[in-house]
């Protein structure tokens, strides 16, 4: 048996592990990010329950406990999970079985996929290798997100149709028309951002947002194109079927919406996909309008000058999470503040108000860019 040479290990590391390090990190991210998103659904359900209680001067669910420790009511989410997994699998008599079981997956998978182009931190250089903190650096950039997220509509419609229930079909049709309408506004409002930065790759847009505008204010998308931000935020609420645009789930009119006939874990998958797409939408808002992982006045280069690249990445991940967390809270906050729109009001708001403004915003932004003849 030869002694293991320490230089040999270094050689092995340099030749066999280092080149694959970015790939390993990407695999790790591809595992970590979806699991973080799925497990944060439990926390979000807790935030929604206790947060709404605090807003409405109530106490909220606080009873479930382990040996008397309630953990501020967090255990209710654990109980939910147990209940979802142990519930009877009920299949409605008129359900089309294959599609009935396929639909929850068709909703959840696109919701989980869309996050992959969002950078959670700037690429860090370790041992001379650039490690990207982004699952996929695609040339199509943020367009990939829209392409995948529109696939979720199929899941909703199939869920509504395959249940064999008229109310759930109505819910599916409603969500389809609403999501398709607002996807237009969602995409068009972002075009101004693409024009301003002349990029569609999220990591490049975020990189540019680390700079300063006129040397004083951070060059965030919201400051460059505030109208696009308002339109995008409103459209993202409609896109994720949240209040004030939660028409697909009208308790008083269509009982529950497209997931009416689903119970147990299949219902939980619809719930999870709603929350996961909320996280993704918040991440896109942060990436496009709030500088992504950037900390204002301290961009990647400045942080790298002080800290190790990996610590910089950790700080930036924290900054990104805080920003996304704020927008998650905003979803909850808005839900317990605003009453919902009527269906025709939603369609009018989309096609008569928001769509023309979004288009006009493109032309105005284009004119300003032309006038200044200067790329921000």
């Amino acid at each position: 048996m030869d002694q293991i040479d320490i230089r040999n290990i270094e050689y092995i590391f340099r030749t066999y592990i280092l080149p694959y390090l970015p790939l390993l990190v990407k695999f790790a991210l591809a595992v970590i990010i979806p699991s973080v998103m799925m497990s944060s659904v439990a926390v979000l359900a807790w935030v929604e329950r206790r947060g709404s209680a605090m807003i409405q001067d109530r106490l909220g669910p606080n009873r479930s406990n382990i040996f008397g420790f309630t953990f501020f009511g967090l255990l209710h989410s654990v109980n939910d999970a147990v209940k979802f997994f142990t519930k009877e699998t009920f299949i409605p008599a008129k359900a089309r079985l294959f599609f009935y079981f396929l639909a929850p997956a068709l909703v959840l998978v696109p919701a989980l996929l869309t996050f992959s182009v969002i950078p959670v931190a700037a690429p860090a250089e370790v041992f001379g290798v650039k490690i990207p903190f982004q699952i996929a650096e695609l040339d199509t950039g943020i367009l990939y997100t829209f392409a995948i997220s529109s696939l979720a509509v199929y899941g909703l419609v199939i869920a509504g149709w395959s249940s064999g229930n008229k109310f759930s079909l109505l819910g599916g049709v409603r969500s389809a028309s609403q999501m398709l309408s607002y996807e237009v506004v969602l995409g068009i409002s972002l075009i101004t951002i693409f024009m301003i930065f002349s990029e569609i790759e999220p990591y490049k847009i975020v990189e540019m947002q680390g700079d300063l505008l006129f040397g004083i204010i951070p060059k965030w998308g919201i400051l460059l194109s505030p109208i696009a931000f308002v339109l995008f935020l409103a459209a993202s609420y409609a896109e994720t079927n949240r209040t004030p645009f939660d028409l697909p789930e009208g308790d008083s009119e269509i009982v529950a919406g497209y997931h009416l006939e689903y119970g147990g874990m299949k219902f939980a998958m619809f719930m999870m996909s709603e929350y996961v797409s909320m996280i993704t939408m918040s991440a896109i808002v942060v990436t496009m309008f709030f500088g992504g992982y950037q900390i204002p006045f301290f961009n990647t280069a400045k942080l790298n000058a002080v800290f190790h690249p990996l610590i910089t990445a950790a700080i930036q991940i924290a900054s990104f999470s805080i920003k996304v967390g704020f927008f998650m809270w905003l979803y909850v906050w808005v839900r317990w503040t605003l009453p919902r729109f009527r269906y025709d009001q939603i369609m009018k708001l989309c096609y008569i108000n928001m769509f023309p403004i979004a288009v006009a915003n493109i032309f105005i932004t284009g004119a300003v860019i032309l006038f200044l003849n200067y790329r921000f």
């Binding site: 947060g51 605090m54 807003i55 409405q56 001067d57 109530r58 106490l59 308002v230 906050w333 808005v334 317990w336 503040t337 605003l338």
Partner: protein, 189 residues
């Protein structure tokens, strides 16, 4: 419309076929009470921010003062009851521990729900007085009207226990017998 408004109280607008149904309380377009939203209000944004500020104020106020919420955490803390609150019945006792009840059946007669069942018996050494051999109250039938208490000439039945969470798993256990009704009431029973 102004003429109809005066006799609104006397007439029943829904039932009288001759009268036009009054809609005076609904503000209609063109009414001086209505106001068109101005441009700023029509964009919703500032109005939404106003609404959000209201809810976040409640949120912050409550999150730092959870004890100040009006919620009563029921089984642990209870709302203080008024003194004349009619709770579960009890049978009062004499100083020697015998029931004050003389089995006169006045309570059972007064009971509108017919929930009191008495079987009378006589004391062996006292030829003048009866006592209830059985005194059952079917609390599932009781409507808590308190007429039994008012009817009693001996102050033998009272509803001053302050107990209102009367629940159990069987119907039989909710028919309270004499022994149960005469038990001393502990505060945290």
């Amino acid at each position: 419309m102004g003429g109809n408004q005066s006799n609104e109280k006397t007439s029943n607008p829904g039932c009288q076929s001759g009268n036009k149904i009054n809609v005076v309380n609904i503000i209609q377009p063109g009414d001086p009470k209505t106001r068109r939203l101005n441009l700023l209000e029509n964009t919703y944004i500032f109005e939404i921010i106003k609404g959000l500020s209201v809810t976040i104020r409640h949120f912050i106020k409550n999150i730092f003062n959870i004890k100040g919420l009006p919620t009563i955490t029921y089984p642990e803390t209870r709302r203080p009851l008024p003194e004349n609150y009619r709770g579960r019945h009890r049978l009062t006792k004499r100083e020697d521990g015998t029931p004050r009840c003389v089995a006169c059946f006045l309570c059972a007669t007064a009971c509108p729900a017919d929930c009191i069942h008495i079987e009378a018996a006589e004391y062996e050494n006292n030829p003048h007085e009866k006592y209830p051999a059985r005194y059952d109250i079917d609390i599932l039938r009781c409507v808590f009207c308190g007429l039994c208490v008012e009817a009693c000439p001996c102050d033998a039945i009272r509803m001053d226990t302050g107990k209102y969470d009367l629940c159990d798993y069987t119907r039989k256990s909710l028919i309270y017998d004499k022994e149960f009704l005469m038990k001393d009431i502990e505060k945290n029973d």
